[in-house]
Symmetry: C2
Subunit: 332 residues, 2 copies
């Protein structure tokens, strides 16, 4: 494999100066159409490949966006990441991705690496990290960083775009009450975390309004935890649950199947996020739709606008969510 041709080679081949080639590369209107065509032909003839590192060095945009996700294996975040990456690709940006696996040490490493690579901006769904030292490099960099879906421990360090979790769990709880449930639990999520608190607050509000007692069962937001809880509370007095997430709800779904509890009849179950699977299990799972694909596109757009305008977004409203009622709460 011989050396890649440079703009100088292209310039020679096209019989112009390398400045002209550079201008063509940037779609400058300064170049005559005919010249532009010549240059393009030369590029094709030589199999020219643009070298972005070189461009970046001279001050151009790197065309690289960092995407830092706390848990990439969770389908909710997978969908977010895939959609965001594709939206960014449509705008001509490549995405450097990293899973921090909820580990501040990893978060520190990967964000540092992204800064070294000269990303133009970052979309961050942070892991929890009390003093947020793991975000120091990002903060120092002065890069546009859009925080999404989860507020870090240190509060609003970066502009924050998220969903209206509170109203989501409120409508879920209200729906369960309307269906006749009286002993409704909130299942899953760790109680000291912002997302949990938000998702719980709507549930709490609806319950208090209806004069019903709260029942919070905290724990890892995983299928395994949900399954365990279902097996424990099956055939008990609890007659419904709002879950922290669909993963928890799907775990409960499996646990209740195992315990012979009929969803929508013996017990009413609502998830949160509305991942694809909800409509494809049986009985179908009611859930709070977050439309994460649209949310991801919105996030990408906010970041691109920031990048283009140079002005950081301020105080973004929470994106509305919507309860999708299915068999697990309304019966078959």
């Amino acid at each position: 494999m011989t050396k890649r041709p440079t703009i100088l080679d292209v310039a020679r081949h096209a019989g112009v100066s390398k400045s002209t080639v550079s201008l063509v590369l940037q779609n400058s209107p300064l170049v005559r159409d005919q010249t532009r065509a010549q240059v393009r032909d030369a590029m094709r003839a030589l199999n020219y490949v643009y070298n972005r590192s070189a461009a970046g060095l001279r001050g151009a945009e790197s065309g690289l966006i960092g995407l830092v996700i706390n848990d990439l294996r969770n389908p909710f975040f997978t969908e977010f990441a895939a959609s965001a990456q594709m939206a960014l690709a449509r705008a001509g940006y490549a995405t450097v991705i990293a899973n921090t696996d909820e580990d501040p040490g990893l978060q520190e490493q990967v964000t540092g690496s992204m800064v070294e690579h000269g990303v133009s901006a970052v979309i961050l769904c942070p892991c929890y990290d009390r003093d947020e030292t793991s975000l120091a490099a990002l903060k120092r960099s002065g890069l546009p960083v859009l925080q999404v879906l989860r507020q870090g421990d240190a509060g609003p360090g970066f502009p924050f775009l998220s969903l209206d979790y509170a109203s989501g769990s409120e409508s879920a709880a209200r729906h369960l009450i309307e269906q006749g449930a009286r002993s409704i639990a909130f299942v899953g999520g760790f109680e000291n975390r912002p997302v949990t608190l938000e998702r719980m607050s709507g549930y709490r509000l609806a319950m208090e309004r209806a004069g019903l007692p709260l029942k919070v069962i905290s724990g890892r937001p995983s299928r395994a935890f949900g399954r365990r809880v279902a097996l424990e509370i099956a055939h008990g007095e609890t007659d419904a649950a709002v879950c922290f997430s669909d993963l928890v709800a799907l775990g409960m779904h499996a646990g209740f199947a195992e315990a012979g509890v009929r969803l929508g009849v013996d017990f009413r179950l609502a998830g949160f996020d509305d991942i694809e699977e909800c409509a494809l299990v049986w009985p179908q799972l009611s859930s709070v739709r977050c439309d994460i694909a649209s949310f991801a596109e919105r996030a990408a757009q906010v970041l691109l606008d920031w990048l283009n305008s140079g002005i950081a977004p301020v105080e973004m409203p929470r994106i509305p969510v919507q309860l999708i009622a299915r068999q697990s709460t309304t019966g078959p």
Copy 2:
């Protein structure tokens, strides 16, 4: 935000030449310990950030690996991507990821973009594309490209690392036969594709050996397709199925639940991939374990070895897989 300090600033601050700083950056043994310490102090004092674009320009490794995936929303590939990214991060590489969504046009765009960004190598799970023009840029680049999990249409264009799909479906079919099943279908996957053919071949072998008739129900490897098939064949003569993937099997799982068919009793169902969910649904789903996390680490290692040694890997053996029998085939 002021300009980032360069090695020249660091050199001045530390009272050495910039060459020395560069050597420290590369952990060269040529530098005296004391000098190295001085330089490191200066870097810290100035908040120096290494500029990889500049380094790359002068010939150094970019430290960037491309990861091109046909369907990032599929949990099987998500697990692969997340594990590969983390293994690469451990080796100091950042990962540029792209979902091609089975679209050759997108594949062409994103691989081109990766080459422009100067990735050092690529891990590719290609989308199907008859003439593979979408991979032309990658081929021309001469970069190390490791193809994984799926052979492209044009056959072995790049070194290929994959799992022993054939023996997996063979042991699944044999297991079903041993459990007493006689009318066993192979469900899901498009028949003209290499992965489908491989995953089917083991099933075919086992069935022919046992003198049993084949029954192939092809289609999209999705939950929705599996569910539809289950609803169609429920309470029919078919008494077992080997599925193309867990997604198909989980769709069938839901469909059978809806149809009132008892898995492991009325019908024996085996999936393929053994994603986490298999052990967390009820009845638990038997599946062919691919241990995709280990596979991803292996793939990362093969690529890193290639990068370090400069020699392309040859003829890699298929990684063994293993049937995990659970309630859906053996009964509760």
